[in-house]
């Protein structure tokens, strides 16, 4: 019998646990935290892209009103941080490597005083040649950005030297043979632009030191554990001396995964003994955090006349900016994704990541996948056009099936790609698409693209603890950055223990008390942490049953969980024990109290050495694959070349949707971010300097650019070891958007653009070129 209390919660659109506090303005983000005697931090940024720091004079700044402390690189030890290559100091030391790089930091009584004082710091520089493009970085005799690169600690076998930060190669089959066996090949060069995350909440942190010298750090982040590692590495601080917490986070998309201002704020708090808060302005957030890598991609694909893909060769060149950050991961991952979700027996992908004197580029939703997918998925449309095959049909023919493996050799335990293609085709009315519905002066087109993405990566843990009254606390260390993971993980516990949702509470991530969690990244929380949560809940069930068996004097195997928080003897109505009775007893008996724990590291190998060859790939085990397809209908204004997206369908196989509304929200939000990437978002550099670091000049989509007819469709092909079959959804929705829109523009106009964004200017140019070719 099912009581209303115990209706299944997995698969339901349960409202966010924290929704009321967000709706009423009570949710506290880092800028909303105030501590007694709190000081404010400010940063002086470098005016130069590449220069040696010769000297500092901080006397005027120290004497300025309200100032408590002024620190420069000299006050920081020679410690470096980095997720893959430890190449970055907490602030510039010895050299500056991009415009805006923090060179001095100040703590003062007020924000205005801190900012005014920061400007009074005198820094003497010796300018060095600025390397602003990958080509310049690779040129013979180029100035070297990291002279000590060889000596930096690296967590993977990096192939590096000069300004090359890493080189990666991944190959399967015999690509030369593949091209020989092809009837046709298509080759193209594609370029994508740097995109800014623009989490609505700018990055910030607040640190406080206790009487024993231990630091508590609240910050906008995607992983309290990465924050702890970055801060301690860059300051030479034992990790035991730093406790990292997280208030509500106003979204991340990758820019809050690795460090931003946390090391600076901790250092200022240690130096002053006072709480220090520093929240970046929007301009600083643009200038000094990180952004999506600009890519140059060369793709050559060989096919049979019937449309069968045979061979592909890909070369990517990434501008990594001044520091490695997550770039080696982005490079490796982009190669892993460059074959797309298709069977291409002979594939070779190579990539080079170079340092330049620009803002570091790093993790951003999609992690290199949107860039290569733009290249490969628009090329597929070119191939389809040349062969006279329908673009959806050619994808379906080559799509990975249930028994296929991913590029590199990893087996796919679940694969909903064919269904994603079917759903997007059906819902978008693909086969009934008409060319001529547009008003005069406008043209319409429908475009299609597919993608896949992993969810997984590295370590995670969960503790499910039963309180005396039989309710439970879930503690995972996973940061909910707004995507809704707290709710999803709670649903998993509630479902596993047949508890009402309100009897499960979620502990806020805390490096002191939470089990390790790599972070909210790589579309991983639902799958990896969810799996740990489910295992920990199962452990709670086992312990509950052990106690109940003693109490009821029966075998554990004869017991079952009953809805609403109770254990019963199978087949014997009335022989039940509520959790409260079991837990209260367990707190006084041997074998109690009841705590379920689980930790694990994702362990399926990315590369099967019998099938593929890889060098410089920084992740030996990566994740399980989600699949997706996007169809987009655009209208092109013939007068201006401007593109509007009229309708869109975004479909993803997420294994199992634990929370349908959340999954839709991820797909819709990712589509909007992809739309901005496709059409107008671009960081513009004027020489070494970012020319549009404001929301007046850098535009993100408003409610008028994103179509109301944005339809998210969920496909469910359960991942066998995923929690209730679930796999990742955070990133899959963005990868194929630009390609689908570019394909739609090509369908509407006959103009094929190989460079993003698809601005009116470019489209108008391509329209004219297309007209000239046909005319």
């Amino acid at each position: 019998m099912t009581t209303p209390d115990a209706a299944p919660v997995v698969g339901q659109s349960v409202p966010r646990l924290e929704v009321r506090e967000k709706l009423t303005g009570r949710a506290q983000y880092v800028a909303d935290l105030y501590r007694p005697r709190m000081l404010h931090g400010a940063i002086l940024g470098s005016p130069h892209a590449h220069a040696r720091i010769k000297s500092y004079d901080v006397s005027a700044a120290r004497a300025a009103p309200g100032v408590h402390c002024v620190l420069t690189g000299e006050d920081f030890g020679d410690h470096r941080m980095g997720a893959f290559i430890k190449d970055e100091h907490a602030i510039a030391k010895g050299k500056v490597r991009y415009v805006g790089e923090p060179v001095a930091v100040v703590a003062a009584e007020t924000e205005a005083q801190a900012r005014a004082a920061a400007r009074l710091v005198e820094v003497e520089y010796e300018e060095l040649p600025a390397i602003l493009t990958p080509a310049a970085a690779l040129a013979p005799g180029a100035a070297v950005i990291h002279e000590e690169l060889a000596s930096y600690f690296k967590v993977f076998d990096a192939v590096c030297g000069g300004n090359v930060c890493s080189r990666t190669e991944l190959a399967e089959g015999d690509v030369e043979r593949g091209f020989r066996e092809s009837d046709l090949f298509v080759e193209g060069r594609y370029r994508t632009q740097p995109q800014a995350h623009v989490s609505l909440e700018p990055c910030g942190a607040l640190a406080e030191v206790d009487a024993a010298g231990r630091v508590t750090l609240w910050s906008a982040n995607q992983s309290v554990f990465r924050v702890q590692a970055n801060v301690c590495e860059s300051l030479g601080l034992p990790m035991s001396r730093l406790r990292c917490l997280t208030p509500r986070v106003g979204a991340g998309f990758g820019n809050k995964m690795e460090a931003h201002v946390q090391p600076i704020v901790v250092k200022l708090a240690l130096a002053t003994g006072r709480p220090v808060r520093l929240v970046l302005t929007r301009e600083e957030d643009f200038e000094i955090v990180r952004a999506r890598h600009p890519f140059e991609v060369r793709v050559r694909t060989g096919v049979k006349r019937d449309g069968t893909f045979v061979a592909r060769e890909v070369e990517v060149l990434l501008d990594g900016g001044a520091y490695a950050d997550d770039s080696p991961g982005v490079l490796g991952y982009s190669l892993l994704m460059a074959r797309g979700p298709y069977r291409i027996p002979h594939t070779r992908c190579r990539g080079t990541l170079v340092y330049t004197n620009k803002l570091r580029f790093g993790a951003f939703r999609g992690f290199g996948n949107p860039q290569v997918t733009f290249a490969t998925e628009t090329q597929i449309d070119e191939i389809a056009a040349q062969l006279g095959i329908d673009p959806v049909e050619i994808r379906r023919r080559n799509a990975l099936g249930a028994d296929d493996r991913w590029f590199g050799g990893q087996a796919l335990a679940s694969n909903g790609l064919p269904e994603c293609i079917d759903v997007a085709e059906r819902e978008s009315g693909w086969n009934a698409r008409a060319a001529a519905r547009a008003a005069p002066g406008r043209r319409r087109g429908l475009g299609f693209a597919c993608t896949a993405h992993i969810g997984g990566l590295l370590g995670t843990g969960a503790i499910v603890r039963m309180l005396e009254d039989g309710t439970v606390v879930l503690n995972t260390g996973a940061v909910d950055i707004g995507q809704g993971s707290d709710t999803v993980l709670t649903q998993i516990v509630a479902e596993a223990l047949k508890l009402p949702l309100d009897q499960v509470s979620v502990a806020s991530p805390d490096t002191d008390g939470s089990p390790y969690n790599w972070g909210t990244t790589a579309s991983r929380v639902t799958y990896t942490t969810g799996r740990a949560v489910l295992a920990a809940a199962r452990e709670v069930e086992r312990q509950v049953k052990a106690h109940a068996a003693e109490m009821l004097e029966c075998a554990e195997a004869d017991l079952e969980l009953l809805p609403g928080g109770a254990v019963g003897l199978k087949g014997v109505p009335g022989k039940t024990l509520p959790f409260v009775a079991i837990s209260a007893r367990a707190h006084w008996r041997k074998g109690g109290p009841i705590v379920g724990t689980n930790t694990w590291v994702f362990d399926r190998p990315t590369v099967d050495p019998k099938r593929a060859v890889a060098t410089g790939l920084p992740f030996p085990q990566i994740g399980v694959y989600s699949f997706g397809a996007v169809a987009a209908e655009v209208e092109v204004d013939e007068v201006t070349g401007q593109v509007a997206v009229l309708r869109a369908w975004t479909v993803a196989d997420v294994g199992r949707a634990i929370n349908r509304a959340s999954v839709e929200g991820q797909l819709e939000g990712a589509f909007a971010q992809g739309l901005g990437f496709a059409l107008f978002e671009a960081l513009v550099f004027d020489g070494p300097r970012l020319a549009n670091p404001t929301l007046m000049d850098y535009k993100v989509p408003t409610s008028l650019e994103v179509p109301y007819e944005l339809h998210a469709h969920i496909v469910e092909h359960p991942e066998p070891d995923g929690p209730f079959g679930a796999k990742g959804v955070g990133e899959i929705g963005i990868n194929a958007v630009a390609a689908a829109i570019a394909n739609a523009v090509a369908a509407a106009t006959g103009a094929r653009l190989r460079e993003l964004p698809l601005t009116g200017e470019r489209v108008l140019g391509a329209l004219a070129a297309a007209a000239a070719n046909t005319g």
Binding site: R16, L200, E201, G665, E668, V706, A712
Partner: protein
């Protein structure tokens, strides 16, 4: 150098006394002096909408409004949401329109003022009405649906 002066502000139907410099924005006064942190500082340029509050029932950017210009006016922040704003809060919850929540207070207050003026908007009217409030998480679809839902339930 600017000196702080006494200022009386009426916020959420209550009088508040504070000190504010002539150049302090309403956003600074609300957040730092009065603790109404529901209004967020997203860009400080009027471009993102996260700081939107109601002044005499009309939405304004608190970051572009000087605090001393608001003396004698009726200020409503998300903490004082009433009427249409409350209906919107319920609808946002039901529609799953809240993700990171940073845009939510400004979004709700902007929508509340819009519904006062246009009680039964079309989807396109809602999109136009909210076009000055950026959301980077949702793709807006569920937000527009929430406003339409609130308009339905809120209608007499």
């Amino acid at each position: 150098m600017s000196t702080r002066r006494p200022l009386a502000l009426r916020v959420n139907r209550a009088e508040h006394e504070l000190f504010a410099a002539p150049g302090d924005t309403l956003l600074t006064a609300l957040r730092d002096a009065l603790g109404f942190t529901g209004a967020k500082r997203g860009c400080n340029q009027g471009a993102c909408g996260a700081c939107t509050v109601l002044v005499d029932d009309e939405p304004v950017r608190a970051c572009l409004t000087l605090a001393h210009e608001c003396a004698g006016r009726e200020i409503v922040t998300i903490e004082g949401a009433a009427g249409a704003a409350q209906a919107l809060q319920a609808a946002f919850e039901e529609a799953g329109a809240v993700q990171c929540g940073f845009c939510t207070p400004g979004m709700i207050l902007t929508a509340a003022a819009m519904l006062e003026r246009t009680p039964r908007p079309s989807a396109d009217e809602v999109r136009a009405g909210l076009s000055g409030n950026l959301c980077r998480c949702s793709g807006y679809r569920k937000i527009v649906d929430a406003v339409l839902r609130a308009a339905e339930t809120g209608a007499p």
